[in-house]
């Protein structure tokens, strides 16, 4: 086995999709002296159990660029390295059953033209054509992204890890970082299995562990894991193999054909924060699952049977619940933290880590090498948050809302409902009571 070096330029901590991608890009762009340390095995955190949907269109130009690039990268690396990431691009179909949702989808289809993402607007007949098993009763319309689809999360991560090794990155598994060492306000090294490695830069790609790792050294990283659910049905003979991924936002559902079975996943309105008793992710949580919570899932299962009635015939093979980290606004955390020089984060993937992994790693590498980023990516910059955002009181309640926000309506001017009243003005009560017209208050 390789020896862990005494020093290097960059230590990437975490061997999920984010860490492998960051390490690959750093080395690819020239910082070859990069090592990656994984606590257990690659993918053993959150990555291994992802449903693997990959989609290109995001809520802003910067985010769309990241997702588009991710998909292009996986395709390119599959060829370069001759290793499969399990890409299956049968397209993705999103449907609307409410007026607001339909407007939202049409706005998205409009915006997509700016980024060269192919989006087709479909009427009900066209929807039936590409998704014959759908119940179209209440559907107002849909949009179709022919270039989207799914990937195998473990395949993607191993592909990136292989590519990283080819570029010179050394990857060490079973290497939990016990301590991050700083000197004069900047990163100085890490302690792993009792040994000290000196380094100039550290990337925290430690997924749901990141908040507590930060907390232990006075760095605010606002994310918290929530329980995230899907079920997989028994095989169904007549399930078409070539159907696209289906997103039924108004029912909080996605459905994906998976080797003759159907995977039904949800983004429910009120989610359940994980590790509720301790508020900490155990250090040894590997390939971990939570107990079944059928009661929580049931209403959504019913909705899925309504949407695709043929599923009624199928039994459930697997009920899955696993943790994924969410942030206060369902956007990723990237960039250098303000508290410690040369400590960068690449975490808080909000359930789109597989679809965004390639791009967030690239952006992180560029950000580190340049010292800043020349893109409109404030929406992903960890410095959009303040210290209070990472405190358990705030973040734990907030993630009950943000998980569902992914499929909720993205209304203009929408305000959060949870974790409010953090900072109150001295005249808050007065403002609350008074109307707009101050001079005639008594007469209105």
């Amino acid at each position: 086995m390789k020896e862990i070096p005494d020093n290097c330029k960059v230590v990437v901590i975490g061997g999920g999709v984010s860490g492998c991608s960051t390490a690959y890009h750093l080395a690819k762009f020239g910082w070859k002296d990069t090592i990656l340390l994984e606590r257990d095995q690659l993918t053993s955190g959150t990555t291994w159990h992802a449903a693997g949907l990959v989609s290109q269109l995001g809520p802003s130009a910067g985010i769309t660029k990241i997702r588009k690039y991710s998909l292009e990268l996986y395709k390119r690396l599959e060829k370069e390295i001759d290793f499969s990431s399990g890409l299956k691009l049968n397209g993705a179909l999103s449907i609307a059953t409410t007026k607001g949702r339909w407007q939202e989808l049409l706005r998205q289809a409009t915006t997509a033209q700016l980024y060269d993402v192919n989006v087709e607007v479909l009427n009900i007949n066209q929807i039936k054509n590409i998704y014959p098993i759908i119940n179209d009763q209440d559907i107002l319309g849909g949009i179709y992204m022919p270039g989207d689809g799914q990937a195998d999360p473990i395949g993607v991560t191993n592909l990136l890890a292989k590519a990283a090794r080819n570029e010179g990155v050394k990857i060490f598994q079973n290497s939990p970082v016990q301590k991050i060492i700083s000197k004069n306000g900047r990163v100085n090294g890490v302690k792993v299995n009792g040994k000290i490695i000196e380094c100039e830069y550290i990337v925290l790609a430690t997924g749901m562990w990141s908040r507590q790792i930060g907390e232990d050294m006075g760095v605010s990283i606002p994310l918290y894991p929530a329980e995230h659910f899907y079920v997989i049905t028994e095989p169904l003979n007549d399930l078409p193999k070539n159907i696209p991924v289906l997103r039924d936002f108004d029912d909080s559902l996605y459905l994906k054909e998976d080797a003759g079975k159907m995977l039904i996943g949800i983004f429910e309105g009120k989610s359940i924060p994980a590790f509720n008793k301790t508020n900490r992710v155990p250090e040894d949580f590997s390939y971990g699952e939570f107990p079944e919570n059928f009661e929580h899932f049931e209403p959504y299962l019913e909705a899925s049977l309504k949407r695709v009635p043929m599923l009624k015939k199928a039994g459930i093979r697997k009920f899955f619940s696993g943790p994924e980290s969410f942030t206060p606004d369902t956007n990723t955390l990237l960039g250098e933290v303000p508290e410690l020089k040369n400590l960068f984060v690449c975490c808080g993937l909000n359930s789109i880590g597989i679809g965004s992994g390639g791009g967030v790693g690239k952006v992180t590498a560029e950000w580190m090498m340049r010292g800043h980023i020349n893109e409109d990516l404030f929406i992903y910059d960890i410095k959009r948050f303040q210290k209070f955002h990472s405190e358990v009181n705030f973040i734990k309640e907030r993630v009950t809302e943000t998980l569902g926000d992914l499929y909720g309506m993205h209304w203009p001017y929408k305000q959060p409902k949870t974790s409010r009243n953090q900072k109150i003005l001295p005249y808050h009560e007065e403002l609350k009571k008074s109307g707009c017209m101050l001079w005639s208050i008594r007469w209105i």
Binding site: L114, E375, P412, M437, W439
Partner: protein
């Protein structure tokens, strides 16, 4: 009735105030907004009388030390004024000339400056500033030590003159300056400027005195038709005035030439400010992308609801995208900011067919040659 609150920089902040007996709650929509009547009232009352705007969440950083001025000159693109009370609007850049921050710098005392910036970018701006400051400068984030109330509108001077004995005349208290004043025994730092393009004063007051100051203003305000105004009113009026918003209209992706902010670059100050080298390389080149203001022909509120990331067309070709949108009740215009990429000037575009596309529908637009509001208030 009462305020409908939103969150900004962690603060609960009034977005709009209910009129009549309605509930101050959003009824979300992609079309007409239920708060339009409130905001119509708030914005109209501000230009006719005076509005009270809550601005406490804006970030405030104090910098002290003998070299503060020199270091600010290196951080900022504008020529920072080093005379007591003067305020300079500026950007800060990264080494590649991308816009990292959009701020005001106020000289509060000798070797004491205050930087005031948007609420949402507090940590980001602080990080950028501290990255380049030497150890000799004492930096303090004082955002939460002060409240700020904005009194904006033609009657703001009359109102404030009734509650304070200081001199607010146009000869003595000029636009873009600031000073300590006393309002009913409370010490207040008053700045004569406004983000809404009206005669007005930003009043900074220590937290412990803020409630009292608020009450004094509201009591006297009744005699001047003072209205409460929320964030929506402020956002609409800043767009009427041609002011940009970092995070929407500008970011590290843009340079000041593209954004129409070249007036905030000073080469004559003869300081190698951060980003200057990059700017010098593009200074005389024609920018491919440039900032524009557009308005929908036959504008009606919410038809369509303009936001951002909407494509802008010249005939059938996409030439850019929008970055901010709002309906201006004062000018009866559905207004958009954005960037376009054509070889054509605004004059050349005047008689061309321009569109903004929203929800798969194209709307004909006009180019606005200059901000809807003029700047005459500065002289009054």
């Amino acid at each position: 009735m009462g305020a409908c609150f939103g969150v900004s920089g962690g603060y609960e902040r009034p977005m709009w105030f209910a009129i009549n007996k309605e509930k101050p709650e959003y009824e979300y929509s992609y079309d007409y907004q239920n708060w339009f009547p409130s905001v119509e009232f708030e914005t109209k009352n501000t230009i006719n009388n005076v509005g009270l705007f809550e601005m406490s969440p804006f970030s405030k950083f104090d910098l002290k030390g003998e070299e503060t001025f020199q270091e600010l000159q290196r951080l900022c693109t504008a020529n920072i004024k080093n005379t007591l009370g003067s305020i300079t609007y500026t950007q800060m850049l990264n080494n590649d000339g991308g816009i990292e921050a959009d701020l005001s710098v106020v000289c509060i005392d000798k070797n004491h400056f205050r930087i005031i910036g948007p609420a949402a970018t507090r940590e980001h701006d602080k990080f950028h500033i501290k990255k380049y400051l030497s150890k000799n400068i004492i930096f303090k984030d004082v955002t939460e030590d002060y409240c700020c109330l904005g009194l904006f509108g033609p009657k703001s001077r009359d109102l404030i003159s009734r509650i304070s004995n200081d001199n607010y005349s146009k000869e003595i208290f000029k636009f873009g300056t600031s000073k300590y004043v006393e309002i009913n025994g409370i010490k207040v730092w008053a700045q004569r400027l406004s983000y809404v393009g009206e005669l007005g004063f930003e009043l900074y007051v220590e937290i412990k005195n803020a409630k009292k100051l608020y009450q004094i203003i509201v009591n006297e305000g009744k005699n001047f038709h003072l209205s409460h105004c929320g964030m929506h009113a402020m956002d609409i009026m800043r767009m009427e005035s041609g002011f940009l918003h970092w995070g929407h209209d500008i970011s590290p992706e843009e340079n000041q030439y593209e954004a129409g902010l070249a007036f905030a670059i000073s080469y004559k100050k003869n300081v190698d400010f951060i980003g200057k080298e990059a700017l010098l390389k593009i200074k005389d080149k024609k920018q491919s992308k440039r900032f524009v203001m557009l308005s929908i022909k036959n504008s009606n509120p919410g038809q369509p609801l303009l936001q951002h990331f909407e494509p802008i067309y010249l005939d059938n070709k996409i030439i850019g995208n929008t970055t901010s949108g709002n309906y201006s009740f004062n000018y009866k215009k559905n207004l958009s900011y954005g960037y376009i990429n054509t070889g054509l000037s605004n004059e050349e575009l005047l008689d061309k067919n321009l569109f903004i596309e929203v929800g798969k529908k194209k709307f004909s637009v006009n180019i606005e040659m200059k901000p809807l509001k003029d700047k005459s208030f500065r002289l009054n």
